[in-house]
Symmetry: C2
Subunit: 229 residues, 2 copies
């Protein structure tokens, strides 16, 4: 009896709520999961500790943390300490200063490199266009264009083995994401969403990311177990 | 009298013959040049020394060398010392083992991040589809797809300021590239093309890259001033 090779996927995991849920969804879909995180000069490195815990709990085949010096370019409040972190209401129709230039393009490109070596079938990324951060590289038209490019860039594409970019959260509200993750057994206390979490992983409760997360727990009708400082 | 802002470009520079020529072409087109090189675990780090010399000679506004741990993924003879460097004739219709998975995608993505911070108008890359390495990420259809994706990924794209990916070498033979570069004053002795150059920048005269380069000098009808070991 032939043993069918399991499908492989590279999962981008920041250690936040969304990507933790994506990892659980890919695991449930029976992919062999290769998890990729980045140390890209972000203010909050404690999210990488969260990513390690989450990858281990999900029984990922492998977890790589790549150093990626995006802070060399500056231009974002997440990587440039001279830019103030915004605390007011998010501005609609405006890209916030927490946007890191080309971040998802860079992350997906490196995931593509690993996917090619692994002969993986998919890359999973937790982008979302509903409770929307205002970042251009979270939109479905960006993801479609990236997938098209990726299949022209690589050996797999040339040989006709299509790689798909999977965005299972794209059309879900934050509340739906949390409900789904709880059903899959995620302990959201282990995730860090805050842009400026402290060394313990405690959250500020003021930044845009904290607000979106808190509202998500309200939508889901479950207690927010985030630790705030 | 208003001073017109000069156009800005990010130039990908490996330190090899092609990218040195691209840098000279962009300079001649009167761009303010921001030069980007990568230490990506390649066998030959001496090409980065060449890149520094070339960027300085071209009076680039700035030259960044980013560390990019592509060797963590393996899968290429250029970054994985356990894979033998091929020395026979290049195989047609086959992607060589020197291909680094998704390398141009990764390099262009990081150039895109910097271009966005700089509000640059163009990214220049020395890909070529004539004297062709067999790498999928050197083909014009890949570049077109990347440009489309890049303009959906970024603030500039959302705001309608189109970024172009410039590939001035795409349709030139190696001989034509060399003729053009010589006319622009390039000293090709300062460039390093060899996949396994020694510490002095001397070349092996056996690898695919050495062969393409040597044939280029023959096509151009000029003496090959490369130092071989």
């Amino acid at each position: 009896m032939n043993k069918v090779k399991k499908q492989r996927a590279v999962i981008l995991l920041s250690g936040g709520l969304d990507s933790a849920t994506v990892l659980a969804m890919a695991t449930e879909q029976n992919y062999d999961c290769y998890v990729l995180s980045f140390d890209y000069g972000q203010r909050s490195v404690v999210e990488l500790q969260a990513a390690k815990v989450l990858a281990k709990k999900a029984a990922a085949i492998e977890h790589k943390v790549l150093r990626m010096p995006l802070e060399d370019f500056g231009g974002s409040a997440l990587t440039d300490l001279s830019i103030d972190m915004p605390e007011g209401e998010p501005q609609e129709f405006e890209i916030p200063v927490t946007y890191v230039p080309a971040r998802n393009t860079v992350f997906l490109s490196l995931a593509l490199g690993w996917a090619e070596v692994l002969e993986a079938d998919a890359i999973f990324i937790g982008v979302n266009s509903v409770d929307y951060s205002g970042y251009p590289d979270c939109r479905p038209e960006f993801i479609q264009a990236f997938e098209l490019m990726a299949n022209l860039a690589t050996r797999a594409g040339v040989e006709g083995n299509k790689l798909s970019i999977e965005t299972p959260l794209m059309n879900m509200t934050k509340g739906e994401i949390i409900e789904r993750g709880l059903a899959l057994g995620i302990d959201y206390k282990q995730t860090v969403s805050c842009y400026q979490a402290d060394d313990r992983g405690y959250a500020c409760n003021h930044c845009d990311s904290c607000k979106l997360r808190r509202e998500g727990f309200e939508q889901a009708g479950v207690a927010d177990q985030t630790h705030y400082f």
